[in-house]
């Protein structure tokens, strides 16, 4: 069952080949069996899941429910779940039982989905390897000595290993696409404002966007459909009808103009990755798309821009964790300052501290114009690059990452090297564009990801291109042997 598509699972539920309870139990058993090695789940909500499954079964029995009713999923542990710990990979929130649901949790609950549990992530989503989690690193099902990527490492490891059919995730600078690429999954980060951020613990508010990791574009489309849409509670959420993603999947891609930015194929790109991406592009060409070289000249500035904007916003967003109203509080504070400094000093891990420090510094007196304001201006230049490119092409294609999954511990000492991993993914966040990663090959048994970037609100087209490719390829159908 764990290798079935969501459509197949829904069909199995509707035709009573199995119940949601049986399906849920199947996944819970697999979690028990496999997750000790992977550490993808931080919290398993078995009881709750079974109750939800029973409710779904009752609905199905009455002929009610939709395409997702009774299908299990896992939530990244930064989506607040009422009554369930939402820890964000941090000691700071180790005791935080959220008293409310995130908007998307409400929506997916209402769609009848069954929450298996909460999955691991880099602390406060800051990282590209899921090694910064307070709950220990998550391992890559393709090679457990390697990282699954991050920050949504728990989401991808759980889905890649068949410990959940699908999972929610978030992407601030590549946190959906990079781990999807490193684990052979399909991950989509929608347009900024497409999915409500309400109840999603903020990292960098102007960059964060919720999305999905799944085994195929078809699965991702189904779940994204249920997550997307207007929410009054998020001022940055866009009031605009959601396209019919499932319907868009079947569109013909003949005549589609695909742009290949030269900056995404330069130094640092692993030749094997390059070969796989080139081959995928050629495959799309045979399906009738045209390939056009394009320029995104400000690409080299995207990492520096991101590492000003994101830490600045993060330093501000994380000031609320002060040990007063919830979360970690140090023992016996001598005075207020001691309460703040020790609670925060003990509650945050080193990567989070680093980013708070950078963010505080760039916003502080005398540095604002040189760093933050300048970064906002360069951000505009980067967005303008895309706007110009999309006058010529419909979709931009390139690699998601420079290489395949790296070994645990390989890059933890050097933050700058780690940050440079995000070179291909960050720009889409800065410009607020929808982007996705789909598997397009393997190198030494490790998956390779292909990135597609679209115009604002063009998720339907991205899913369409991904689906078209997945109709003629089977990289997305590959499973790590140990978990097949």
């Amino acid at each position: 069952m764990h290798k079935d598509s969501l459509a197949a699972l829904a069909e199995g539920l509707r035709s009573r080949r199995f119940s949601s309870r049986e399906l849920t139990e199947h996944f819970l058993k697999r979690i028990e069996q496999y997750d000790e090695a992977l550490n993808s789940y931080v919290t398993v909500t078995a009881e709750r899941a079974l109750a939800q499954a029973d409710a779904a079964d009752a609905q199905i029995a009455k002929g009610e429910g939709g395409p997702l009713t009774g299908i299990p999923l896992a939530h990244k542990d930064l989506f607040c779940t009422n009554g369930v710990r939402t820890a964000c990979g941090s000691k700071m929130l180790d005791n935080f039982i959220a008293p409310y649901d995130a908007h998307i949790v409400e929506l997916l609950d209402a769609a009848g989905m069954v929450t298996l549990g909460k999955v691991n992530m880099d602390e406060f989503a800051m990282g590209s390897s899921t090694e910064t989690s307070y709950y220990g690193p998550t391992r890559n099902p393709w090679d457990t000595d390697r990282v699954p990527g991050g920050s949504s490492g728990g989401s991808v490891a759980a889905v890649a290993a068949g410990l959940a059919p699908v999972a929610t995730a978030t992407d601030t600078g590549g946190s959906i696409r990079q781990p999807a690429a490193l684990t052979g999954l399909t991950g989509i980060k929608p347009t900024y404002g497409r999915v409500s951020r309400y109840g999603m613990v903020a990292f960098a508010s102007s960059l964060d966007q919720a999305g999905v990791v799944a085994h195929s574009a078809e699965d991702a489309a189904l779940v994204l459909q249920a997550m997307a849409g207007f929410d009054m509670r998020d001022s940055t959420c866009v009031e605009r009808p959601v396209d019919d993603y499932a319907a868009a999947l079947g569109n013909d891609i003949r005549g589609l103009k695909i742009g290949l930015p030269s900056q995404y194929f330069g130094d640092g790109l692993d030749p094997q990755v390059r070969a796989a991406v080139d081959a995928a592009a050629a495959e799309l060409e045979t399906l009738g798309a045209t390939l056009t070289p394009i320029e995104l000249p400000n690409t080299p500035l995207s990492v520096p821009t991101y590492y000003v904007v994101a830490p600045a916003e993060a330093s501000s967003n994380l000031s609320r964790f002060d040990g007063v109203r919830y979360g970690h509080r140090c023992a016996e504070p001598a005075n207020l300052e001691d309460l703040y400094k020790r609670s925060r000093g003990e509650g945050f891990g080193s990567e989070v501290k680093r980013r708070i420090m950078v963010g505080t510094y760039v916003l502080s007196h005398g540095y604002y114009d040189a760093y933050y304001l300048q970064a906002q201006k360069v951000r505009r230049l980067i967005a303008d690059d895309f706007a110009r490119a999309f006058e010529q092409v419909d979709v931009i294609l390139g690699p998601t990452t420079q290489g395949t999954a790296f070994a645990l511990g390989e890059q933890t000492d050097d933050p700058v090297t780690m940050y440079l991993n995000d070179i291909y993914t960050i720009a889409a966040n800065l410009a607020g564009l929808p982007a996705m990663s789909i598997p397009c090959g393997q190198s030494a048994g490790l998956p390779i990801g292909l990135q597609l970037i679209g115009r604002h609100f063009d998720e339907g087209r991205l899913l369409n291109v991904a689906h078209a490719y997945q109709q003629v390829s089977d990289w997305h159908a590959q499973w790590p042997e140990a978990y097949a």
Partner: protein
């Protein structure tokens, strides 16, 4: 480029982050490295560029002035580190 430990201490104080000496030392190098990375921004020509605070060009919506929240103090304070008589307890606030 690296930050002096004094600068690191000052920033840590602004951010109310308790750091030990080892952390301060390593941060002075690491912050220097990161600032070296972002220094590339200074070379970009942005003379006539409007700063971009949001990815989408939208205006703020207004909410209707209606009370929609009810009293959930019990639920909220169930997760508080220290509360008494409905108040959050903190070390004495000196004004």
């Amino acid at each position: 480029m690296s930050l002096t430990t004094e600068q690191v201490r000052h920033v840590a104080h602004l951010a109310r982050l308790g750091l030990d000496e080892v952390q301060i030392d390593s941060l002075s190098t690491q912050l220097g490295d990161i600032l070296g990375l972002v220094d590339a921004l200074s070379k970009a020509d942005t003379a006539s560029v409007t700063p971009m605070a949001h990815p989408l060009d939208m205006g703020q919506r207004g909410r209707a002035d209606v009370v929609t929240e009810s009293d959930r103090r019990e639920a909220y304070q169930a997760i508080a580190p220290s509360a008494q008589d409905g108040l959050y307890r903190v070390p004495r606030v000196i004004e």
